[in-house]
Amino acid sequence: MSKTFKLDGREIPFETGQTIMDAALAAGVYIPHLCHNPEFAPHGSCRVCVVDIGGRQVSACTAAASEGLEVDNSSEAIGETRRAILQMLFVEGNHVCPACEKSGACQLQAVAYYTGMLAPHFTHFFPRRSVDASHPDVVIDFNRCILCELCVRASRDHDGKRVFAISGRGLESHLVIDSPSGLLGDSSFAATDKAAHVCPTGAILPKGRGYETPIGERLYDREPISIVGDVRAQEEEVL
């Protein structure tokens, strides 16, 4: 007999040590997320995966599953919280979907659609951020960074390189690169690094390939992310 908890009324089996997110994904139930990637330790920073347990909101990616929990993943209140968080992410950076190579295969965009965010909402901050094209194979557009730290974690925990880090604090928080000049081309980063293939947005992109898949035929163009799953699946294929 495996243990179970309830997610929107449905019994979800789990094993000790699994988070609500782990168990839900294993059971084929989608909980929207951005900073979570099952290959890395749970992070809990984007807050998109908030669920409600008895009036308390927790992130599904960090909350341990336990017997008898009643988890709300689909109420209007949860949807509203997630939508607001997405609306925040979209005004924090400069996300110009129509001009972005990642459009249609972008997890940020797909999760936004999934939560019902169809247009920008809050006043844009329009931060001045740069593009780093110094690396021969990969370009970084900091305008699209959502600080999920997946590249930080992948480089540190998988590639053993520590190429990326987060600097500053508050709204001044930003991704930095460990090299004498601060440029990617000057670092030990390689296109074959795991860190090059985990970005949920278009912040880290391979060079020399553009619009190979036409708009309309992209990852999330026909079916929503709740069916298709994370963008990382596609990245794996490219590798």
Binding site: G44, S45, T123, A165, L171, S173
Partner: protein
């Protein structure tokens, strides 16, 4: 401050490494020393520390960018930071900042994150979050030393001293005088003296019996959250681990709080004794006192007390001759980060990193410093614990309410005749505190700091207790002459500045909230903006990663409910006002086309857009 030409950056770092060691967890402490010596952290120091401590230069730079008191570009040889709490502002700090700026020949005004540095490098002027001198403000820090009771005359004199390049040691001593201002003594403040009695009692009765007394007392954490102290100690005592640690949270950063400053000044022995007793109970050999950078002036005093207690056999190896009872305490400095008052962020900072909250569970009691079981308690909690072990659990139960045993030390500031430290039994109503401190015509009380609750007169019969008004001790009073929106603006800017940036709701929501508050204050707000503030505040409260984000919107949500007029009287229009000026936005186009006729203007942008 006068950097001698003979000491190179590399030489200074090498000396710091030789004296304080190459443990990567000492990174922050090395950086603070470099900052103090050179008024910034030069690249050469980043490279040297990165090489010696095996941390990437990016991690070193990230730490510098995180802590408000560390800089990657030179500040003045005299680095001046005005405390910018609302209580400083109410005492006229803004006028004094302008006066000093003018006297020093600087232009503009400093803002959070933007210091004014004079071209000759002699002086810089910036802001600091509350420096804990609210009972004797306005206050500032000069090269980390606190200056209190500022007035025009004192600021004038400071400008002269800077112009004359007078070293700080020769500045008038009264500038640096910090008064305790203890106005009401109770269980804890009644008697500062101790001769190690609590440690003796622990050794006589044994750890289990001492812990039983703490359990009996019902003592709960005095830092605000109110977790049962005995439970924390027991969890830690029983958690598996190779080492255990005791940490005293002296990062008193909540705006309007300053009681720990007084406890660390005059009740030092009792605080250290509480830490020692805790070490004996949980089996710790090392302890840390994490002292907020703003209280650096207390460092020599604290070190001397530790030294004396070592000499008395109350710290070090074989405490009071007891075999196997070894415990000593190191002081670690903070560097201007409110978030480090949160216990897991504090531990990150102790380990030399950016103070970002850890994921919990695991809690520090099982996985804290160096991933080992760690007790983190507030200064006041340790003091109370020492007395509980010495005098027994019933002693604390003699005062307070069922759920809140003992007393609470309040830091009272703002509009009252006698600001200072007041100790009350739990259960004391707000109105009594107001009467005792000489507050008149009170419009509002902000209890438990910027993160706390805004009380209107309808709340003044409520009591200070965990079950009604829990508080870390900050008690700021606003009379009817004040515009409470000034408080809201100050707190909103504070939280935007102090958010660690880890999670989306606090990082982005906090900045959005600040901007909306400013929009309303500028007379450009509408009902729509108020509902947006509610919406953002609610998301922050519910979905943030840690307590900072959960509590950061409290002041906005509370005042929207209890003081709607502070917003309502400023609304430009009923429904919607755009956040930018359409006509001004056309100015570049007008300049480019050389037009300035009536057709090139929009009379009233808001009307067109609405």
């Amino acid at each position: 401050m006068n950097v001698s030409a003979t000491v190179t950056v590399e030489g200074f770092v090498a000396e710091s490494l030789a004296t304080h060691g190459r443990d990567p967890r000492h990174l922050l402490q090395h950086l603070i020393r470099v900052q103090q010596r050179f008024s910034y952290v030069p690249d050469a120091a980043v490279e040297a520390l990165s090489a010696a401590l095996d941390v990437t230069r990016t991690q070193v730079r990230a730490a510098i960018a995180f802590y408000a008191f560390l800089h990657d570009r030179p500040r003045g040889a005299f680095e001046i930071r005005f405390s910018d709490n609302i209580t400083d502002r109410m005492l006229g700090s803004r006028r004094l900042i302008r006066l000093l700026i003018e006297r020093l020949g600087l232009a503009g005004l400093p803002a959070w994150g933007r210091d004014l540095v004079r071209a000759d490098g002699r002086v810089s002027v910036g802001l600091a979050s509350c420096t804990g001198m609210c009972d004797q403000g306005p206050a500032l820090l000069v090269n980390g030393q606190a200056v209190t009771n500022l007035d025009a005359q004192r600021v004038d004199r400071i400008a002269d001293l800077v112009q004359e390049d007078t070293p700080l040691e020769r500045w008038p001593g009264e500038f640096f005088r910090v008064e305790n201002n203890i106005r009401r003594r109770g269980l804890l403040l009644g008697n500062p003296a101790t001769d190690g009695a609590a440690v003796r009692r622990l050794l006589d009765a044994g750890a289990e019996a001492a812990l039983a007394e703490v359990e009996r007392s019902g003592l709960r954490g005095r830092g605000g959250a109110g977790f049962t102290t005995a439970l924390k100690w027991r969890f830690c005592r029983e958690a598996p681990g190779t080492d255990r640690y005791v940490v005293c949270n002296a990062d008193e950063g909540e705006p309007g709080t300053f009681k720990d400053r007084v406890l660390l000044t005059d009740y030092t022995d009792l605080v250290i004794e509480g830490m020692t007793v805790c070490a004996g109970v949980i089996g710790a050999r090392r302890g840390f006192l994490y002292l907020r950078g703003e209280y650096r002036y207390l460092l020599p005093h604290l070190e001397s007390v530790l030294q004396r207690r070592r000499a008395e056999g109350l710290l070090g190896t074989r405490i009071l001759g007891a075999d196997g009872f070894d415990f000593d305490i190191e002081i670690h400095l903070g560097a201007g980060a409110y978030i480090c008052g949160e216990e897991s962020a504090l531990i990150e900072s102790l380990e030399g990193k950016r103070g970002v909250t850890r994921k919990r569970p695991p809690f520090p009691v099982t996985s804290g410093f160096d991933d080992q079981p760690t007790v983190v308690n507030n200064v006041e909690t340790f003091l109370a614990a020492a007395r509980v072990v010495q005098w027994g659990g019933y002693w604390l139960r003699g005062e307070g309410t069922d759920q809140s045993a003992g007393s609470k030390i309040l830091s009272v500031s703002g509009d009252c005749a006698r600001p200072g430290i007041y100790e009350y039994p739990f259960g004391t109503p707000v109105h009594q505190v107001l009467a005792d401190c000489g507050a008149e015509n009170t419009q509002a009380v902000q209890i438990s700091g910027a993160a706390g609750a805004t009380l209107s007169p309808a709340d003044f019969d409520r009591i200070i207790a965990f079950e009604d008004l829990p508080t870390a001790g900050s008690f700021m009073i606003f009379d009817h002459s004040r515009d409470l929106l000034d408080m809201v603006r100050n707190f909103a800017a504070f939280f935007a500045h102090e958010s660690c940036g880890f999670c989306t709701p606090c990082r982005v929501g906090g900045a959005l909230l600040r901007n909306l508050v400013e929009k309303v204050a500028a007379g450009q707000g509408s009902e729509y903006d108020l509902s947006e503030m509610r919406r953002i505040g609610t998301v922050m409260r519910r979905a943030s990663y840690c307590g900072l984000g959960h509590t950061a919107p409290n002041h906005v949500l509370n005042t929207l409910d209890k003081f709607p007029l502070i917003y309502g009287r400023r609304l430009a229009r009923a429904s919607h006002t755009p956040s930018f000026d359409l006509d001004a936005a056309l100015s570049q186009a007008r300049a480019l086309t050389g037009r300035d006729d009536i057709g090139a203007h929009i009379e009233d942008g808001s009307e067109v857009s609405a």
